[in-house]
């Protein structure tokens, strides 16, 4: 395990050092961005609507029963910004994009395409890892930015039309405006940026370390997704602790 962590850190450092070559890789970065957005946007929309909707459904009636219906908008607003959007979108992207990264790079490794790159003196980190890392680090915060208002809308919809909650749009968004600061949105975006780096580096590392045949590719994909999700949840705790202590 410690060897893996060391290898991941070395890969991350090498990718960081390759950052000045981003402009050269812009075509690949834009292809990756399109891939991530194209594959994920609809899922992000559905997931955000329903997560916020279910949260409203679970908490709304209890809050209303205790006369606290006026805080529902703020609660949904904050939970979407700071927790649900970054964490759920990161898990979604780990499943859809992290797995694809590990599979593609793993197949390239198994079928000697990465060896071929090295014989042409083309660094696989610059050619394969850098574009994916940059694309995911841009795309995940952008998807979270999209997910937050969609989630708010989902929460408002359920709050307005559920008979046991019955809080109208105006009251919901009034409460949300009172509670949610731009700093809370930034908080979520920062988290998602760190999650994106974790997903990208874990998935690329798994891909590059694939050995064997098609079965090994499958194993790499599974490991990439599982390790990414574990990393997301561990990082989430420490990032939350960190962001709670810094002043707004």
């Amino acid at each position: 395990m410690f060897q893996n962590i060391g290898e991941i850190l070395v890969l991350f450092w090498r990718t960081f050092l390759a950052l000045p070559l981003c402009w050269r890789q812009r075509q690949k970065i834009s292809n990756q961005l399109f891939e991530i957005g194209n594959v994920s946007l609809l899922m992000v929309c559905i997931l955000s609507l329903f997560i916020a909707g279910v949260t409203a459904l679970q908490t709304g009636p209890v809050l209303v029963e205790h006369g606290l219906g006026s805080v529902l908008g703020g609660m949904i607003g904050l939970s979407m910004c700071k927790e649900f959007a970054p964490v759920m979108m990161a898990i979604l992207i780990a499943g859809r994009i992290g797995s694809a990264m590990a599979a593609e790079i793993g197949a390239m490794r198994v079928y000697q395409e990465i060896d071929a790159l090295r014989t042409m003196n083309i660094d696989p980190v610059t050619y394969l890892v850098l574009p994916r890392m940059v694309a995911i680090a841009l795309a995940l915060p952008a998807l979270v930015m999209f997910s937050i208002p969609v989630g708010w809308f989902g929460g408002a919809l359920v709050s307005a039309f559920n008979q046991r909650i019955a809080i109208n749009f105006d009251s919901f968004f009034h409460s949300l405006r009172d509670e949610v600061d731009p700093a809370d949105i930034f908080n979520g975006l920062f988290k998602s940026f760190i999650f994106a780096l974790a997903i990208g580096i874990v998935s690329c590392h798994q891909g590059l370390n694939t050995r064997g045949g098609p079965r090994a590719i499958g194993r790499s994909v599974t490991k990439a997704v599982v390790n990414s999700i574990v990393m997301i949840l561990i990082l989430d705790y420490f990032l939350t602790r960190f962001l709670l202590v810094i002043p707004k």
Partner: protein
Amino acid sequence: MSAAPSQLENVSVEVRGLHKSFGSLHVLKGLSFNVKPGEIFVIMGPSGSGKSVLLRHIIGLEKPDEGEILIQGEPVNESGLRDKYRIAMVFQSAALLTSLTVGENVGLYLAEHRLKSPSEIAAIVSQKLEAVGLKGVENRAPAELSGGMQKRVAIARALVMEPQLFLFDEPTAELDPPMAVTIDEEILELKNRTHATSIIVTHDRPMALSLADRVAMIIEGQILFIGTPDEVRRHPDSRIQKFINAKPPVSKPRNMS
């Protein structure tokens, strides 16, 4: 990424006491030999004797357990060596990038190192593909080509590098005889034009004995013999003769019952 080397010279290869094991399997058992600048050096031997592993060491894709490999007197894994010398390899499996078109594969080295403009790259790609008998396939995906055609694309991709050291892993496997001859001619032409040093791993006996300046026979991870094709033909060792003169048992054909 590096620019092109400033000067092109023939390179020598020296392998000294090379050992490599994979787990308990001792694949290379102390190989030592020299390849002279501009020479065509053919490595022959039965399957599993360690020929491809040796080639991967020479290009720096594997690290030896013991021993060293020197390109023009410099260790192959030394940083900056690949910026100094152009070394190309044609893999047995072709190893084309499946996410790119054939043309993009062939022009990848020039494009990634920014050695030519896109229009110049396109012209060179067409020229090299034509040289290996593939015309008008630039926009096709590698998966749309047969195994033999993929191998020829891989050779074209290596030719684009104008290498000083050219490594071939079974370059004529999966090719029909006329195309195998074309590849032989291309290797000879490359030698005459650029004086590139070539190391070829092959089972193709006609190719080995007609092209090689010297032939090395590897059996069970050890070099049995190094000599000219004539010396190989005349060598008394029964293992070499068995390999060189192997023929199907015509008197006992299979599946005739």
